[in-house]
Symmetry: C2
Subunit: 600 residues, 2 copies
Amino acid sequence: MTAGNPLLSDRDVAFLLYEVHDAAALLRLPAFADHDREVFDLFLANARAFAREVLYPAYRPMDEAAPTFTGGRIQVHPRMRAIWPRLCELGVITASRPHDVGGQQLPRTVALLAEAYLMAANLSAYCYAGLTAGAAHLIEAFGSDDLKDRYMRRMYSGEWTGTMALTEPQAGSSLADIRTRATPRDDGTYAIQGGKIFISGGDHDLADNVVHLTLARIDGAPPGIKGISLFAIPRLYVETDALVDNDVSTAGMIHKIGWRGLPSLVINFGERGACRGELVGAPGHGLSYMFQMMNEARLMVGLNGIATAAVAYHESLAYARERRQGRPAGRRDPASPPVPIIEHADVRRMLLRQKAIVEGGLSLLVETARLTDLAHHADDEDVRRRSALLLDLLTPIAKSFAAERGYDSNILALQIHGGYGYSSEYLPEAWLRDQKLNSIHEGTTTIHGLDLLGRRALAPGALQALGREILQTCSQAQAAGVDLGDVAALQEAAGTAGALIAELAGRHLADPERMLRHSHDVLDIFMTVVVAWQWLRQATVARAALSRGTLSTAADEAFYRGKLQAAQYWLRTELPRVAPLARLCRDEEDSYAATRPEWF
Amino acid sequence: MTAGNPLLSDRDVAFLLYEVHDAAALLRLPAFADHDREVFDLFLANARAFAREVLYPAYRPMDEAAPTFTGGRIQVHPRMRAIWPRLCELGVITASRPHDVGGQQLPRTVALLAEAYLMAANLSAYCYAGLTAGAAHLIEAFGSDDLKDRYMRRMYSGEWTGTMALTEPQAGSSLADIRTRATPRDDGTYAIQGGKIFISGGDHDLADNVVHLTLARIDGAPPGIKGISLFAIPRLYVETDALVDNDVSTAGMIHKIGWRGLPSLVINFGERGACRGELVGAPGHGLSYMFQMMNEARLMVGLNGIATAAVAYHESLAYARERRQGRPAGRRDPASPPVPIIEHADVRRMLLRQKAIVEGGLSLLVETARLTDLAHHADDEDVRRRSALLLDLLTPIAKSFAAERGYDSNILALQIHGGYGYSSEYLPEAWLRDQKLNSIHEGTTTIHGLDLLGRRALAPGALQALGREILQTCSQAQAAGVDLGDVAALQEAAGTAGALIAELAGRHLADPERMLRHSHDVLDIFMTVVVAWQWLRQATVARAALSRGTLSTAADEAFYRGKLQAAQYWLRTELPRVAPLARLCRDEEDSYAATRPEWF
């Protein structure tokens, strides 16, 4: 059964791309004018085929045998060594980078959906490429031409790979506390000394070199985030024509419970005092530069969360159609044959909830990709500005939704498999392990709650931009004949969310601790509302298609009916959670805030 | 840090036993009149010391090296072989069995709390004892004196162990579909033929023999549950003075993702036509007998869920007090030292939620144990009857609460550990794996939702008995000076839950499929309300103790303050979920019910 797992629904991908998010409109932007829909479809078809035929069959072997750490070096799975050149050849590292750096200049909107297949098939394998793309993009955006020549081009081609090296053992989520030191040298480079932890893909035997985009403090820099600069630190330094050892060493490998194809490492710089790093951009701007990569990485984690939920959803859907057990309530004749478990309403509940999370979350991720495209390439400056603002607001929401609700979804995929789901002979437990990292890396859910309520939701115009989009969706839904109660429910919940932020900010701007007390609930509210918005968009298209009455196939009709059901599920069973959560926030319910550490 | 994990809070155990659930009152019942509080405390102290000193240090090694399956036999971990005789000696198998079968005749209320320590320390190790106790209890309750002599006594002493053998590969949760056959033989025994799956502890090298309490169909029995009988099937049959092979074989071992110290097996009976089983009780009553063991086993699973959440809670609490990272919102001076993460409000949220689940769930399990004691040993027949009724109602709720909310709690323990929590160098990931089984075995959460709404909540007088208890708690809370809003909130939620059942039953008794559509939500409502009831009880005691103003230590004051905070958390943040859930049920929201299989 596993062999036939589609990873994602191709029909849904086409629906989101062309029917909901109107990728065709992107072709009218100058940046994408050379493309056409066939180019998009071909890129997707290649990625999908590679995901299904090459990456997915390697997932289980790579999960079962993690990379090894011997002689100070990491050896990846042999399957991964075979995959890497083909992954580079597929063009995923530079799909959405401009022609002038060797990219294909595709919209992020298209590239993201291709990546979704790759991640659903084999998240670790894809991430060598994704991390390299993000690191190279930092140099593209902020590095000198010299750095681009010497590093970026080799990374974009896949000759070298890249990492982001932020976290230190003592600092964790608190980047202000990082200690890695950079001492200016006479040759313009910096002598780097320090240790980083949880560096994904920090060493391997896939490519000649690894470039660590690293946060460090230049001697004499002020404490806190203002003293942080960004450096490119290669494992091997280019000297004239040779690659020489740059005193970057792997001190240990974390035994992760998932993502087992991708090593997570403890990396030390300058143990022998011989590590050279090169400053990227201006001193003291490291964290703000890194935020570009972190924002990209957060959306990548969000996509990973949805992809990991998607592959498990499809596995459990196939299982529920095949596995026969029991009889529906009210039909208890023991002589009648058992029915496929999808006939049981509660199994359909678990499937529809997964569908709502997977397809609602994917739509939200596509939305962020479209906003990325518009923020960079729209003709109208106002559209660019508003898109950037909305993207900034949606990033922590999309990341956290995918991580938290994605995990809920993966739990259900395992549960549907019953006792078999609890065994490592079946795959749902592996995806459940993979998914758990997503609420931790690239900012824990706690951090995103604080970031949303304490910063992004307060950005002037951000909430208004979201409100406008939601209102527009509501009018379109109404025009298409979507249930008016559902439209009103979204409008009301969105109003509640907006009013809540205004109220909390108005009351406590001077007392951040009090204002942020329920940041987790505020994040939950926004996750719920924003995905409801995506579902109402999908319901609008589905309703219109069904009303036209010109559907060519029964499969098309079934597809749109399924969309309406999933939209109904999210709007009627999840949206009602918003009002009581908002009440908790407004009332400043203080159970945990007021609990002293010694009372536990 | 791990070494000092207390597993459970001793103070909380004493609080629940004596202050909330009044175990002293049990001493007035004739069955327990020979005991006194010192006996209870000594039994608990022994169990606690054994759990901390012997079981807990063996947990990790047993998780890392599961039993092996070679030469057709299971070999358990060497640590387990050393533990088994000491576990038997501790008296846990027969703690609450009567003197006349060799037990200590302790109240279940006391035995359960001892078991909680053992399970928190090492669930697999304890379960060899727990399964044996349950299987022997079945023979005690329904077997002939001859069966008791030949099987029960050896099981209660730990000389042999026991299992429950229900599940078959093709039938899963649908016991009506089991096929294992029993053919009468001339000697009064039955020739057994069939295969069972997921048999925990179905083979090992701990003891001489294993007795499988097995469901099978006697030739010619009617289809469905009425044709099911109960058999005792030993691995080795006693013939004159020798134990001879009984044609029971282990066909495979499931690679479970948790509970790794306890093998889960595929067991075949009668492959060579030479397996003898002995009928327990009357033919055709197998499932009703088994329900005794299943009800016990469900509460055991519930206790396991709470114990597994408890040990992880204490681990994350210690970590949060020690790990320093960042500064609270509003105190951002980067030169100030980082604070323990328990200083961050959102970390306290995750801790208080765990505390509310662990200590609220434990209180509910103690409640079920007290009801078990009263149902069997109360003087007044009416009390016995009502206690049995209430116990029956609470069993699926307590089991499912522990499994589902316990899992939520285990997630938070991992999350608090950040990136370290995602590695197998730390224990939270192991407990998270362990916990996942609890929503699957002994009835999936789906099954318990159907059982609650379709049967147990409809039992005449059951809801009334619960309603009376809750009302009584509400008056006591009011008298003790607990916040009136919190009291009213519980009263209202309990009223909503009761009215909902009446309404659904009244509307659709003739259409079970429609009535049961939202069984999952109904279960969620009852879980939430019943634990809120337990928290109001605890808050009442805590409030009264604080009001008396005679607390001897600051630790006592902190303990009661913590209870009030956790009660407030549950009553104010969880109880508001009830009204919108009830609305979904009443409105018969039909998103998944109406979704056709081909629409996914």
